[in-house]
């Protein structure tokens, strides 16, 4: 049980995917203009990461058995992309409201490096890995991503009223905010269990 808590804290705060691993920066910057779209993106990422973690972890066992671990990257990408397509079709059929809420983000994140990152890290970095831990790690990483993108979206909404120098408007100031957020999150790196 303590190890599960460690995995969760580690994935959300200490090794936050966006702010300390610098993965998934593209949606982080692209979809953080409004908090509600950011939340939609975050939920989609949590969902995809959880599902992808489980499937890729299981597939990796097969790869190890056949001694072809070097195929990890390409197999993971193929599996994640195919899986999301399937999930999208099913959601579209059974829950149109969830489908419209996730909108374009669901297909967008199929090739998100954060999703691939969590799949790879589950098999390479996670100690005592088993399929349950992989699932928890995936879900918690998604929550960490959601937390980061929500904070940034909140700041960007407030920033609309700020008097920003012309040359810093838009992406430059967003990058500066992101770096400040990353520095703030680096304080968590001192945590240990």
């Amino acid at each position: 049980m303590p190890y599960v808590i460690f995995i969760i804290i580690n994935a959300i705060f200490i090794n936050n995917f966006v702010l300390s691993r610098f993965l998934g920066i593209c949606p982080f910057l692209g979809v953080s203009k409004k908090t509600d779209t950011a939340l939609g993106m975050g939920i989609a990422v949590i969902f995809v990461m959880s599902v992808a973690s489980v499937i890729t972890f299981a597939l990796n066992l097969l790869l190890v058995k056949l001694n072809v671990e070097y195929l990890q990257t390409i197999v993971f990408i193929l599996v994640i992309a195919g899986l999301i397509q399937l999930v999208e079709i099913v959601i579209k059929r059974f829950s149109p409201s969830l489908y419209s809420a996730l909108g374009v983000y669901l297909p967008l994140i199929t090739t998100n490096c954060a999703v691939l990152g969590v799949a790879v890290m589950n098999v390479s970095e996670l100690a005592n890995a088993n399929i349950l831990y992989a699932f928890i790690n995936g879900a918690a990483s998604g929550i960490g991503f959601t937390l980061a993108i929500l904070i940034l979206a909140g700041i960007r909404e407030k920033m609309a009223n700020a008097d920003i120098p012309e040359s810093f408007k838009g992406f430059p100031i967003t990058l500066i905010i992101s770096s400040l957020m990353a520095m703030a999150f680096s304080a968590f790196s001192g945590l240990s269990f």
């Binding site: 097969l62 072809v68 195929l71 193929l78 599996v79 195919g82 399937l86 079709i89 579209k92 149109p96």
Partner: protein, 270 residues
Amino acid sequence: MLLSANGLETALEIIYPVAILTVLAIVFAILIAVFSVKFAVKEDERVTAVCERLAGANCGACGYAGCEAFAKALVAGDAQLTACNATKKSAKEEIVNILGSGDLGEETIVVCACNGGNVCMDKYDYQGYGGCASIELLAGGSKACPMGCIGNGTCVQECPHDAIDLVDGVSIVNQEKCVQCGLCISHCPKKILKRIPAKAQLYVACSSCDKGKDVRAYCKAGCIACGLCMRNCEAGAITLKNNIAVIDYDKCTGCKKCAEKCPSKCIKIL
């Protein structure tokens, strides 16, 4: 024997990756094909049909996210066709046929009912943040005329089709580019961008309701309500209301005499 075992291992090293990827690809291809047939969502054919006939400007002036969202709302009965001004009348008739009901609405064009700009005096020199709406908040705009075009170009920025230009400090709608979406109207704090019937040949390019003497004091191009146009109109289409000439487009014959006689040239020909 040893050599052949090595050969088998080498062969497997090549075969495994190929086999794994091929199998995975085939499995997913089949799954996606099966799923997409089995879980296919039947979309209303009318939505596609209506969407094809809408203007496709995706301007959002109807209040929906785009033409497709508007088409869905039309089919669901949540929206009125009159909310869209960009779609041509012939296309609207087809949409009404598809839907079975609906109001066409009158075809309109958008004009800027102000001709002041640089010839209208300034009340103060605005030096600050924001567009026309911000300027309007400060003592009702920087122009001496309470209904004058501020000339900061908020409409120019909002227009998705670059159909509005600032000429001599006043907005002018380029009728060739304008699709009548009306985004400019909703962003103009003075509400001087107006809709007039598409058949109009003339329009009064002034909105000031002040008395003639007052208008003359701050603007050389304003309507002074002298009534010359009214007296010269053979069709009796012009009346004076609140110190401004108003054209009744149902009566107007388009003789353009009013535009000739107007001393401040504020009746403009389209």
